[in-house]
């Protein structure tokens, strides 16, 4: 895997998402309250564009009539068929063993480190005042 700088952090503020192409692969990057997640933009079921999915919580139930909601914002529903995926792991909720979206590590790197460090960033306008979103593909 190589690290790719994909955007300044300021361009993907918390609560937003961005569809990027990295090494020819469409990757949806989400900013959940400052934490970044990357998923292949293709639902493993029929190929729906995950970047346009609805971010929701996990609804479980102890008994019929009870709706227990947790993990707000961490479950991504495919915009087509509504299959639910864990944004942290790409794992399908209903079929965890067999269905998983390819998840990509996404991190934030210091602007200064980018300039000095190992990251390939030469064609990205680098600003030392800003931090960058980095995807490993």
């Amino acid at each position: 895997m190589t690290k790719h700088v994909v955007a300044p952090v300021a361009e993907i503020p918390p609560g937003t998402r961005r569809l990027l192409t990295v090494k020819g692969r469409p990757i949806a990057v989400f900013n959940l309250g400052g934490e970044f997640f990357g998923l292949l933009n293709r639902c493993p079921h029929q190929g729906g564009p995950m970047c346009e999915g609805h971010l929701t919580g996990l609804v479980q139930s102890r008994t019929p009539g009870q709706y227990d909601r947790s993990r707000d914002g961490e479950i991504l529903r495919c915009p087509w068929h509504g299959w639910e995926f864990d944004i942290r792991t790409g794992q399908s909720y209903v079929d965890p063993e067999r269905t998983r979206i390819r998840a990509y590590p996404v991190s934030v790197a210091e602007g200064a480190a980018l300039v000095a460090g190992p990251y390939v960033a030469e064609t990205i306008p680098v600003s030392v005042e800003q931090d960058y979103v980095v995807v490993e593909v």
Binding site: V59, Q60, S61, R62, P64, G65, H81, W83, E84, D95
Partner: protein, 355 residues
């Protein structure tokens, strides 16, 4: 079709009430008078018109009276003819069609007491389902509690088409009572006819009515699963009686597909519908709605379990001729399961000694 090996457990036979007169001794003075003075007709629903070819096999029609209405007839035609070791009586009498809950409860009590005295007391091979006034959950539960001590009653009997889908929560005390007492819940073809027997209105023929019974079972299975009956009552066994079974794989493919996308609506369903069916739902084998041979075996393969089917003759309904109560080409292990193992695993009470 082939002849089944002897010793089987027949999970669906229909002793008939010869006439409402036989119930009079089992009714209280008030209800007895109501039946007589109001000129109550025989409570035979339109599900099985008396003379319809399906209602009774020609060679099972007596010279006089209703098919399956005497013990001697049932012994000879339904039990001895197949070497049956045990048979479950599902009495189809239009208790569920009545609109008065109290009258329905009175008739249901009479039917059950009549079955116990005139049938179960007189042949040790017979077991029965508890007929309940499903119009009232409360009265249905009362009837279950009244009879639960008698181990010869192995199941609660409901019909495929009632006023509301069977998964709806107001029916749940029935399932709680059944689970508590180790009774299965059997759902048989037929209905209250309070709603049209198709989702698109009343059909113009009896043929459609009968064919459409299978769709009612499909809807009930959807309802029981999506409402969470098996999440709430995990030990409950539901048996679909005279439902046909060849529709099951296609139905589960569709239901499971929608569950994957709509699980959030019914979060208590935390296993796939196909898995739930494999653990909690069984189907009797007659009628076999499939061509024999390769297609049927592929279809059984699609069911992905050899535990789902229970032997039944559906006596006296005309589903097959002679003693050929099983489709051709089933392997011997599967036959043994259908005839004996699966019924025993489904009906806990069949394993109990009876007094």
């Amino acid at each position: 079709m082939t002849v089944p090996p002897p010793g089987g457990i027949d999970c669906d036979i229909h002793p008939a009430i010869p006439s409402i007169d036989v119930l009079l001794p089992y009714l209280s003075a008030h209800w007895r008078e109501q039946v007589v003075t109001r000129g109550l007709d025989e409570l035979n629903s339109i599900a099985y018109p008396d003379n319809s070819p399906l209602t009774a096999r020609p060679d099972w029609r007596p010279a006089q009276g209703r098919p399956g209405a005497t013990l001697a007839q049932v012994q000879a035609q339904a039990l001895d003819a197949f070497g049956t070791s045990l048979a479950i009586c599902n009495c189809l009498y239009g208790v569920q069609v009545l609109f008065s809950e109290d009258l329905a409860a009175a008739i249901a009590r009479a039917v059950n007491d009549w079955i116990a005295k005139e049938w179960l007391d007189r042949d040790p091979r017979l077991r029965a389902s508890i007929v309940v006034p499903s119009q009232s959950t409360e009265l249905a539960v009362e009837e279950i509690e009244r009879l639960a001590g008698d181990q010869r009653f192995v199941q609660v009997l409901l019909l495929a088409m009632g006023d509301t889908p069977l998964g709806r929560r107001h029916h749940w005390p029935i399932y709680a009572a059944a689970e508590r007492h180790g009774l299965a819940v059997g759902i048989h073809a037929g209905g209250s006819y309070h709603n049209p027997p198709t989702p698109v209105g009343w059909p113009g023929t009896h043929t459609e009515d009968y064919v459409n019974q299978a769709q009612a079972f499909q809807s009930q299975l959807t309802s029981l699963i999506t409402e969470g009956v098996f999440s709430r009552y995990p030990a409950l066994k539901v048996v679909l009686l005279e439902s046909g079974f060849t529709w099951l794989p296609a139905h589960l493919w569709r239901l499971t597909k929608y569950w994957r996308g709509l699980r959030m609506e019914i979060p208590w369903v935390d296993r796939s519908p196909a898995e739930i069916v494999r653990s909690n739902v069984r189907l009797t084998i007659q009628p076999v709605d499939a061509p024999e041979g390769d297609a049927l075996n592929r279809l059984i393969d699609h069911m992905q379990s050899d535990e789902l089917l229970l032997f039944s003759t559906d006596f006296p309904h005309w589903q097959f001729d002679g003693a050929e109560a099983l489709p051709d080409g089933l392997d011997a292990t599967l036959v043994r399961r259908i005839m004996i193992d699966n019924p025993r695993a489904t009906y806990a009470r069949l394993l109990e000694p009876v007094a």
